[in-house]
């Protein structure tokens, strides 16, 4: 049969954001694929060069609407490294707690988006309903539901109010109960397993070479977690080990990526509990944060989707001279053709959905 190119996107239910996937098909089988980006490019790096350091936290929030807290946090860490500022201990614990709450919200968003990709619309409603509880929780200290602007250079905007712990505990207990229900529902669903098992397989060594990080790498059995390997904030004082999963035949497939994120939600809830329990008293903002900075610095963090890295160059003025963002999904999407080839057109939503794309951060 003659081969031909098909565009999936930029307007396609599979794309979750605006991007285009060109696939070359032979009948139903994919023989080549080319992802095309840029539909949401807002030149965040260039805009950032024209704004003062502390103003950029509103931009970083908008890198990824599903995980705004982690991106602003990564920027603030890099800026703190550049300016030689250290956040007070209480602020570090608060950051750790809200980052993990954000990770759960982001993974629930993924679960809610992934299941309708496979035809399970109910999963969307479940995922969004539970995410709502976490958005309400994050709204308490920050005042925002999606874009928080909560983490600041030198600390956090304001302290957690009294009673936050009890509210968080109630929400997490609810999610734990419901997650058990969902796992029973999905893990034992014949249709869900048929769409996931052995689909979109890549090996651990390939994933490392292609630059895949985060849950997508850990789902191939690599215990690499930047919260532990390049630790920051209160993570060194918490007790945890990276969780991993592997596909039945080795490497990572759609099912192990699903399992990975569900396991990470359980882990995150444990980390939130630890951070809230160990939280010391004190200030939440450093005494003084300079407006100007010179030199260069970078920090990397474990974003909900993988390795986030921000590199800042200062020239002594109050604005960054150069600001470079490493988006985990930018690199992961570039590797997508490798694990799309050989599968059917109907597997594309499953494979691209399972890597948890966020086009906001990919296009910057």
């Amino acid at each position: 049969m003659a081969e031909m190119w098909i565009h999936m996107g930029p307007q396609h239910p599979m794309t979750h954001g605006l991007w285009n996937l060109r696939i070359k098909v032979n009948g139903e089988t994919i023989t080549d694929a080319v992802p095309e980006l840029g539909y949401l490019h807002r030149s965040v790096e260039k805009i950032g060069e024209r704004r003062k350091y502390f103003m950029n936290t509103t931009l970083t929030d908008r890198l990824c609407y599903a995980s705004a807290m982690t991106w602003t946090h990564c920027y603030c860490l890099a800026a703190e490294e550049l300016m030689g500022v250290v956040a007070p201990p209480r602020a570090q614990y608060i950051r750790t707690a809200v980052l993990e709450l954000q990770r759960i919200a982001s993974h629930l968003m993924w679960l809610g988006a992934y299941l309708p990709d496979l035809g399970l619309i109910t999963g969307f409603l479940y995922g969004m309903r539970d995410r709502e509880m976490f958005l309400n929780l994050l709204e308490i200290p920050s005042g925002g539901r999606l874009l928080y602007n909560y983490v600041k250079i030198g600390g956090v905007k304001r302290d957690l109010p009294p009673g936050f712990e009890a509210k968080a505990e109630r929400v997490m207990q609810t999610l734990e109960r419901r997650l058990k229900e969902y796992e029973n529902l999905y893990d034992n669903s014949k249709i869900f397993r048929m769409r996931n098992d052995g689909v979109g397989v890549y090996s651990a060594s390939d994933a490392i070479n292609w630059g895949i990080t985060g849950p997508n790498l850990r789902s191939a059995g690599v215990p690499f977690d930047l919260r532990q390997a390049d630790s920051y904030d209160a993570y060194p004082e918490l007790d945890f080990e990276p969780v991993t999963n592997t596909a039945a035949g080795g490497g990572s497939d759609c099912f192990s990526r699903y399992r990975q994120r569900v396991d990470e939600m359980h882990q995150s809830m444990d980390l939130v509990r630890q951070a809230l329990a160990k939280m010391p008293e004190g200030r939440v903002m450093a005494d003084s944060v300079p407006l100007r900075a010179s030199g260069e610095a970078f920090r990397r963090t474990e974003d909900s989707r993988g390795e986030a890295l921000m590199y800042l160059v200062g020239d002594g003025s109050d604005r960054p001279y150069r600001w470079k963002i490493r988006s985990p999904m930018f690199t992961t999407v570039s590797a997508a053709p490798h694990f799309l080839k050989g599968y059917k057109v109907a597997d594309v939503p499953a494979i691209m959905g399972s890597i948890d794309m966020c086009i906001g951060e990919t296009d910057k």
């Binding site: 980006l37 840029g38 490019h41 030149s43 790096e45 260039k46 390939d206 490392i208 070479n209 292609w210 630059g211 895949i212 990080t213 790498l217 690599v222 215990p223 690499f224 930047l226 532990q228 390997a229 390049d230 260069e296 970078f298 990397r300 390795e307 890295l309 590199y311 160059v313 001279y321 150069r322 470079k324 490493r326 930018f330 690199t331 999407v333 570039s334 590797a335 296009d363 910057k364």
Partner: protein, 151 residues
């Protein structure tokens, strides 16, 4: 390997200079453009840096500076920052996509936004901006076209 020891060994390489330790697990080194090809092979094959985190291009007015961040995927989280200076009139450097597949789009992005040419890249074309775009907007001498249209 300790970062200080690592930087010291890497400084022995042809064209390497300015070795220093930035943090306990982060080293920094500069390399000339001519020596970069063999230096990166050594880094990958002999020192085990299996992950290319990021390639940043910086326009420092007189020329360009490429900043590579490499890391090792293990619990120690060892990183190395490599700087290469490029002249303004010929901003070319050897591609590293044959060593790290993940560098592919980072090089395309540096070409797209900063106009750095990577020799040996399999498909060096714009990745974020549309194909017909003129210029490289992250360069400091890039002039904005201001469109004033009546609404």
């Amino acid at each position: 390997m300790e970062t200080g020891q690592l930087v010291q060994q890497l400084t022995q390489h042809d064209g390497a200079s300015d070795g220093s330790v930035l943090r306990s697990n982060v080293g920094r080194i500069s390399i000339t453009r001519e020596a970069s090809h063999s230096f990166f092979s050594t880094l990958k094959n002999d020192f085990g840096f299996d992950h290319c985190s990021l390639i940043s291009a910086v326009d420092n007015q007189t020329g360009f500076e490429l900043v590579y961040h490499f890391s090792i995927v293990d619990a120690a989280g060892q990183m190395l920052e490599v700087h290469i200076d490029l002249p303004r009139d010929t901003p070319t450097v050897d591609s590293i996509t044959h060593l790290w597949g993940g560098a592919d789009w980072h090089e395309r992005e540096a070409y797209d936004l900063m106009g750095i040419y990577f020799i040996g890249h399999p498909d060096l074309k714009r990745v974020l901006l549309p194909d017909g775009f003129a210029g490289h907007p992250l360069r400091k001498d890039y002039v904005y076209e201001i469109h004033e249209e009546e609404w």
